[in-house]
């Protein structure tokens, strides 16, 4: 199995990316190979410096780089030899089983939708985000920001996608699905939320437990938290800021709060596409890159993409 990494993506690329790739390659030796994609003159010397430790890494050159500020669609069209475009080519050609990047979220999303393509039956792919839980390990929130504007049917699909991820990648049996709302009672919330509630409660593929509230993010009520991408993005960034503030104040050592550390979590998978794609945090250091690659390996190993295809085939 091969897991690809965009070595040019992220604020500390290519150094942090290469160092993270080496860490993951060592951990995965015998199970998977890391494929590092990037500009030869920048990446090769970094790989060479690791010597024998980089033996489980393959290098694939890409002459161009998509910067964070670039328009995603235009950038992918105008830079067909960028590390992101090359990564998607490898994925499309089944040369690799997963592609990870801490680079432009927009370009990664556009590539996922137009190169890898949504699974037939999926209206809109979504970004999943791991949610630290007080009891147990992690839950998953879908959508974390790919779709600001949602229809009820999209929220229903996010519930299905999140449930499959919770089941096959996180190993949660019969994951509980909660709809993020401003009150627990049925009938609460916007027209979108009310309509989504009605779809979710009769969906046989998921274990819907009803509405949840902001205070239920981290408790055991739901393993899969469903919301539109606007709300999910606000929740994600608010939670990150809490962790950052605690980190600054030096009060983050608690085992629960430690789970917020994205360095140990990896990145955010794009669910509902034909392959395994993970978007990493822009400020990813080597440990975060390594975690993202491990997460890509877990996704590929779990066969989650095929499970999603099977589910949405009917």
């Amino acid at each position: 199995m091969k897991i690809a990494l965009d070595a040019m993506g992220g604020d500390f690329a290519p150094k942090a990316a290469v160092d993270g790739a080496v860490l993951a390659a060592e951990q995965l030796d015998g199970q998977a190979t890391i494929v590092v994609i990037g500009q030869e003159e920048a990446v090769r010397p970094l790989l060479d410096a690791h010597g024998e430790r980089a033996r489980n890494i393959e290098f694939v050159p890409a002459t161009q780089v998509i910067a964070m500020g670039e328009h995603p669609t235009k950038a992918l069209q105008q830079k067909p030899d960028s590390s992101i475009a090359v990564g998607y080519k490898l994925l499309h050609g089944s040369d690799v089983e997963a592609f990870c990047s801490a680079g432009s979220t927009g370009a990664m999303l556009v590539g996922a939708i137009f190169s890898v393509k949504p699974v037939p039956g999926v209206m809109r792919p979504a970004i999943a985000n791991l949610v630290p839980k007080l009891k147990g390990e992690y839950g998953v929130m879908v959508d974390a920001g790919a779709n600001a504007e949602c229809k009820p049917e999209m929220l229903e699909q996010f519930a299905e996608l999140g449930s499959l991820y919770a089941q096959y990648v996180l190993g949660i049996d019969r994951p509980k699905v909660g709809l993020m709302n401003l009150g627990e009672e049925e009938g609460k919330g916007t027209a979108l939320l009310q309509a989504a509630y009605n779809l979710l409660k009769v969906n046989p593929h998921i274990h819907f437990i009803g509405n949840i509230e902001g205070r239920d993010m981290f408790n055991e009520k739901a393993d899969v938290i469903v919301c539109d991408g606007y709300t999910g993005n606000v929740i994600l960034k608010l939670s990150e800021s809490f962790y950052d503030i605690m980190h600054e104040k030096g009060i983050h050592k608690d085992p629960f709060f430690h789970k917020f550390d994205y360095e140990g979590v990896g990145g955010s998978p794009i669910l509902g596409i034909n392959d395994n794609v993970i978007i990493g945090h822009g400020v990813s250091g080597p440990k975060a890159i390594c975690s993202m690659l491990m997460q890509g390996f877990q996704m590929a190993k779990s066969g989650i993409a095929d499970q999603i295809k099977d589910t949405f085939k009917s």
Copy 2:
């Protein structure tokens, strides 16, 4: 000046309410009197037990109580002598300058809208919530849950209401208004957010600084955070749960996180109505009740309701 309190509202009523009223009455002695409303047989003995300490408290009897689970509109109609209904009567008759309750949020909102009534020109009153800031004291978020479904013009009014509160009650000069979005750039977000952005950027009454993200809740970017009531409610309850978790783990002593303690903050004012109304947290103890009454006093003293009437008159 008189500030009224629903002695029957909240999980620990009437004891916590009366004890909180006594604390506030002592602090406000010479500036304002606390009017305590509730069932005579339950409240009188509690007041008497405080003896001379309760001298700055007036008692107004109310024979009925609205429970947390009751339907707000029906309850107010069927219980005209409930503590909440009596409180609104006092407010309507100008017998008191503010009314505070830790009881049913729904009944308090319904009373605010149908008894006190919205200020002419205000489409929908909103719940304001104080936001702890890393630098400085507090900002304000509007709407924190009164209106799940919003129109762009409502978000614009929330910005105006929040700015007036920040200016006249929190004492922030030229408060900065941020629109909660999933990215900073203009054009981000849902159709609602895009339309609201366009209204906010040309509104001469406010100091709009553009979109903010979840990570900006607690930094100095915006003093007034504008969002729909669904998003605001999720943010509020998520933030509360963070504080609760830290509290449980005993790591809440930090001065910044201490600001999250609703006991010191008071409650959530309803903005855009003709009088001063504050809704308290259901689990309010005496200190929280006292803070809510002090907040009611500050609101009344600031003349915020008249400022809002003046602004929306035109």
